[in-house]
C-alpha cells in the first residue's frame, strides 16, 4: 500500500514536470516564433486568406490547381486515400483525374503530367505541387486571365522553392496570391 501511494505521488510529480511545465515552457518560447505559434498566415489587403503551410481548394478555372485531396482540403481533418497501388477502383479514379486534366488543358500530352497532379497527398492538405505541375497549367491561366504566357511562366519560375537537398516545390496559395497581383 505504501508502495502504491509512492507511485501515485511520483506520477503526480512527473505529471507536473512533463504535462505542465514542459508544454508551458514551449508555449512561452512560441510567443517569439512566427505568429506566436498560432500558425503562419497569408493576408491580402489585411485580410487573412489562408495558412501558409495548409493547402486549400482551387477549383476555379482562373487559379492554379493543387493536388487531388481525399478530404477536399477540409483543414479541420486530414487524411490520405489509403488506396493500395493495385486497387482497380483507385486506378479508375486516377484515369478519371488524367482525363479531367486533359479536358481542361487540351494542349497537354499525357507524358507531360507529373504523377503528383493525379495522386492524392498523404494529408489531403498538401500546400505544394511540383514545378512541372504548375508549368503545365501556365497556358490555361494565361488564356483565362488574358495575360501574356511568358509573364505567367516567369511568375511560376519565380515561385519555385529550391533547396540544397530535397525536392523542388511550388506553394499553390502563394503562387495564386502573386497571380492575383499580376497585371
Amino acid at each position: 500500500m505504501k508502495n502504491l501511494f509512492s507511485i501515485i505521488k511520483l506520477t503526480v510529480a512527473t505529471l507536473i514536470l512533463f504535462a505542465v511545465i514542459y508544454p508551458l515552457a514551449i508555449y512561452g518560447i512560441a510567443q517569439i516564433a512566427p505568429n506566436q505559434g498560432k500558425g503562419e498566415t497569408i493576408s491580402v489587403n489585411g485580410k487573412v486568406v489562408g495558412y501558409q503551410k495548409i493547402g486549400q481548394k482551387f477549383d476555379k478555372s482562373n487559379y492554379f490547381r493543387g493536388r487531388p485531396s481525399t478530404v477536399d482540403y477540409n483543414a479541420a481533418g486530414s487524411a490520405g486515400s489509403n488506396k493500395g497501388p493495385s486497387n482497380p477502383d483507385y486506378l479508375a479514379l486516377v484515369q478519371k483525374r488524367i482525363d479531367t486534366l486533359l479536358l481542361v488543358h487540351p494542349y497537354l500530352k499525357k507524358s507531360d503530367i507529373p504523377s503528383d497532379m493525379v495522386t492524392a497527398s498523404g494529408s489531403g492538405l498538401d500546400p505544394n505541387i511540383s514545378p512541372q505541375g504548375a508549368l503545365i497549367q501556365v497556358k490555361r491561366i494565361a488564356k483565362e486571365r488574358k495575360l501574356d504566357e511568358a509573364k505567367v511562366k516567369a511568375l511560376v519560375e519565380s515561385k519555385i522553392n529550391t533547396a540544397v537537398v530535397g525536392p523542388e516545390t511550388v506553394n499553390v496559395l502563394e503562387l495564386n496570391v502573386a497571380l492575383d497581383a499580376l497585371r
Binding site: T11, Y22, N82, G84, N87, S115
Partner: protein, 573 residues
C-alpha cells in the same frame, strides 16, 4: 532526385555521428557519473524523489524492478483511460470534441501506455487538448520505462555476481529528465520556429482566396510532436501524423523528426558499450543492425522512386516517383526511408501513407516490424536483440561443442526456454490475430456488436492488399509500432479490443523475459574468459546472430508476406 538521396544519406550519417557522444552521456547517467548537467537536474530529481518518498539509492533485484514497472504502468493506465472516457466534459476542449467510447478509450490508453500509439481516432476530432497532454505525458514515461528496463539489463551484464541491479525509479526518472526532456525541448523549439503551432486557441475559421469557408485545426502540437519522436512513440497530434503540413511543415523539420526518432535507439547501443566498457561488442551489434536496416531500406527507396507501374501504363511520367499518399515537399526518396526507419524503430509515425506504398515497400515495412530487433524502440530495441543474442549463443555453443556462455555467465536451459518463448510469442500474436480477422473477412461474417456490418466492410482495398491491411495492423500492434495501413476501419470493438490485447501481451512479456534472463544470469557465478570461451564481440558471432534473426523471421512470416504484398507485387508488374 540526386539531392533527395543526398538528404537521406546525410540524415542517417549525422544521426550515427551524434549517437556516439549521446551514448557516452547516457552510460554516464546510468553509472551515476558526473555530467555537465548535474547542477540543473540534481535538484529537480531530488525534489521528485522527496515528495514521492522514494529512496533512489535503494538497490533492487530483478523481481523488484518488474513489480515497480508493472504497478506504475497500471496507475498510468487508469489515469489515461478515465481522462479519455470523460474528455468531453473535462476542461481544455475548445473544439468540443466528444468523449471516447469505452473500447476506443481502452485501446488508446493501452496503446500510449505501451509506447505503441496505434491511433484508432483522428487527432483533430477525436481528442481534447487535455487528452493530448495526458497522452503526451505517457509518451514521456513509456519511453522512460523502456530505457529503465534496458538500464537494468546493462547493470546485470556487468562481470560480477550479484542480485543487486540498481534502483528502478532512479533509472526511470533519470531517463526522463536527463535524456528525453532536454532532447524534446530542442526538437520542439526547432519545430515551433519552422511553423508548427503551439497554441491553446482552438480551430480557426477563414475564408480562402477563392472564397470558400474553411476551419483549420491547431493546438499545442510542437511539444507533443517532439516527444512523439524522441520517445519513439509515433502517435500524431493530427490525423495524418507527420504527413500533416503543420505537424511536419518543411523538408528541414522532416530531417529533424527523422533524426529525433533514430537518435536514442542508436545511442542506447553505444551506451551499452560505454557502460560495460565493451566498445567492440556494441560496435558489432550496431553493425549487424545497420546491415539489416540497409537491406530493408534500399529496395523500399528504389521502388518508391520508380513509381507505380500501373499509373505508368496509363502514360503518366513517374519522374516524381510514387506520389499517392505522399507530400510534394518530401518526395519519394525520404518518404521511403522514413517508412523503414519508423517501422524498424518502433516509432510508427508516418510522413506518407503506408497503405499506398508500393508492394515491395509494404513488404519491407512489414518485415521491419516482424524482425523487430534492428535498432528498435527506446530501450526495448536492445531488449529484443538481447533475446536473439541468447539464442545465438546457445546455438553456436551447440555447434562447436562448448558450454554456451555470454559475458562470463553460463546460459542454461531456463534462460534458453524463456528466450525461445519470447521469440515465438511475436509471430504467434501476429499470425493468430491475422488468421482470426481473415477468417471473418473471408466468410464476410456478420459481426454484430463487434463491427457494424459484415467483416469485409473494414477493408479499404480488395484482394491481396486487403489481406496486407489486416496483417499490418496486428504486426504493428505486436511490434508496438503504431503505424498502420490506415485504410482499415479499425475504430470498432473488434479491432480496438483484439489489438488492445495484443498490445499488452507484446509489450510486457518481451520486457519481463529479458529482465528475467538478465536477472538470473547476474546471480550466476562469473567465469573469467579463457581460450575455450566463445567470443561474442566478433563479426563471426555478429553474422551468427543475424542468421538466427533471419531464419526465425523467414520461417514464421514468409507465407503471410507471400499472400499479401508479394502476391500484389507480381499482379502489378
Amino acid at each position: 532526385m540526386n539531392t533527395e538521396l543526398l538528404g537521406v544519406i546525410g540524415i542517417f550519417l549525422l544521426t550515427i555521428v551524434l549517437a556516439i557522444p549521446l551514448g557516452k552521456y547516457i552510460a554516464k547517467v546510468y553509472l551515476g557519473d558526473k555530467t555537465l548537467f548535474d547542477p540543473i537536474f540534481n535538484p529537480i530529481e531530488k525534489f521528485i524523489f522527496k515528495i514521492s518518498g522514494i529512496n533512489p539509492a535503494e538497490e533492487m533485484n530483478w523481481k523488484q524492478h518488474l513489480k515497480a514497472l508493472l504497478s506504475i504502468n497500471m496507475v498510468w493506465f487508469f489515469l489515461c483511460f478515465f481522462v479519455l472516457l470523460f474528455q468531453g466534459s473535462l476542461p481544455l476542449n475548445p473544439d468540443n470534441n466528444p468523449s471516447m467510447t469505452p473500447d476506443l478509450a481502452f485501446n488508446t490508453a493501452i496503446s500510449f501506455l505501451v509506447n505503441c500509439n496505434l491511433q484508432h481516432y483522428s487527432g483533430e476530432s477525436g481528442v481534447s487538448y487535455l487528452s493530448q497532454i495526458v497522452l503526451m505525458f505517457l509518451q514521456f514515461v513509456s519511453a522512460g520505462i523502456g530505457m529503465a528496463a534496458a538500464a537494468m539489463i546493462f547493470t546485470a551484464m556487468k562481470e560480477r555476481t550479484t542480485e543487486q541491479l540498481g534502483n528502478f525509479y532512479n533509472y526511470f526518472i533519470k531517463s526522463c529528465t536527463r535524456v528525453l526532456l532536454p532532447l524534446s525541448a530542442i526538437v520542439a523549439i526547432a519545430l515551433v520556429f519552422s511553423g508548427t503551432p503551439m497554441t491553446f486557441e482552438g480551430k480557426d475559421a477563414i475564408t480562402t482566396l477563392q472564397g470558400d469557408h474553411v476551419e483549420v485545426s491547431r493546438g499545442p502540437a510542437a511539444a507533443f510532436i517532439a516527444i512523439k519522436h524522441i520517445g519513439t512513440n509515433g502517435g500524431g497530434f493530427f490525423g495524418a501524423n507527420s504527413a500533416h503540413p503543420l505537424e511536419n511543415p518543411t523538408y528541414f523539420t522532416n530531417g529533424v523528426e527523422l533524426w529525433a526518432q533514430m537518435i536514442i535507439p542508436f545511442a542506447m547501443i553505444f551506451a551499452l558499450g560505454f557502460f560495460l566498457n565493451k566498445r567492440k561488442l556494441s560496435n558489432i551489434i550496431f553493425g549487424v543492425m545497420t546491415v539489416g536496416f540497409l537491406l530493408l531500406v534500399v529496395p523500399t527507396v528504389m521502388s518508391e522512386i520508380n513509381g507505380n507501374p500501373a499509373i505508368e501504363k496509363m502514360g503518366i511520367a513517374q519522374t516524381t516517383g510514387a506520389m499517392e499518399g505522399k507530400e510534394v515537399r518530401f518526395g519519394p526518396a525520404i518518404s521511403g526511408f522514413w517508412s523503414i526507419a519508423t517501422t524498424v524503430i518502433s516509432t510508427g509515425s508516418v510522413n506518407s501513407m503506408h497503405d499506398s506504398s508500393m508492394p515491395i515497400s509494404g513488404a519491407m515495412q512489414l518485415l521491419s516490424m516482424m524482425v523487430n530487433a534492428f535498432y528498435g524502440g527506446c530501450g526495448v530495441g536492445i531488449l529484443n536483440y538481447y533475446i536473439f543474442i541468447i539464442l545465438a549463443v546457445f546455438i553456436s555453443g551447440l555447434m562447436v561443442g562448448r558450454t554456451p556462455e555470454f559475458l562470463g555467465k553460463k546460459i542454461e536451459a531456463r534462460e534458453v526456454k524463456i528466450a525461445a518463448f519470447i521469440a515465438i510469442l511475436h509471430p504467434l500474436l501476429i499470425l493468430a490475430g491475422t488468421a482470426l480477422a481473415s477468417y471473418f473477412a473471408a466468410h464476410d461474417t456478420a459481426m454484430g456488436y463487434w463491427f457494424s456490418g459484415n467483416a469485409t466492410g473494414w477493408l479499404n482495398n480488395p484482394g491481396n492488399h486487403g489481406f496486407s491491411e489486416m496483417l499490418y495492423e496486428y504486426t504493428s500492434s505486436a511490434a508496438n509500432n503504431g503505424s498502420g495501413f490506415e485504410g482499415l476501419g479499425d475504430n470498432n470493438p473488434f479491432w480496438n479490443i483484439t489489438t488492445g490485447i495484443v498490445l499488452l501481451l507484446s509489450r510486457f512479456i518481451p520486457i519481463i523475459g529479458p529482465l528475467a534472463i538478465a536477472g538470473l544470469l547476474a546471480g550466476k557465478k562469473y567465469i573469467p574468459e579463457s581460450a575455450g570461451t566463445l567470443k561474442t564481440d566478433t563479426s563471426i558471432f555478429g553474422i551468427m546472430t543475424f542468421a538466427v534473426i533471419a531464419i526465425i523471421a523467414a520461417l514464421s512470416f514468409f507465407p503471410a508476406l507471400a499472400l499479401g504484398p508479394l502476391a500484389e507485387y507480381f499482379t502489378l508488374k
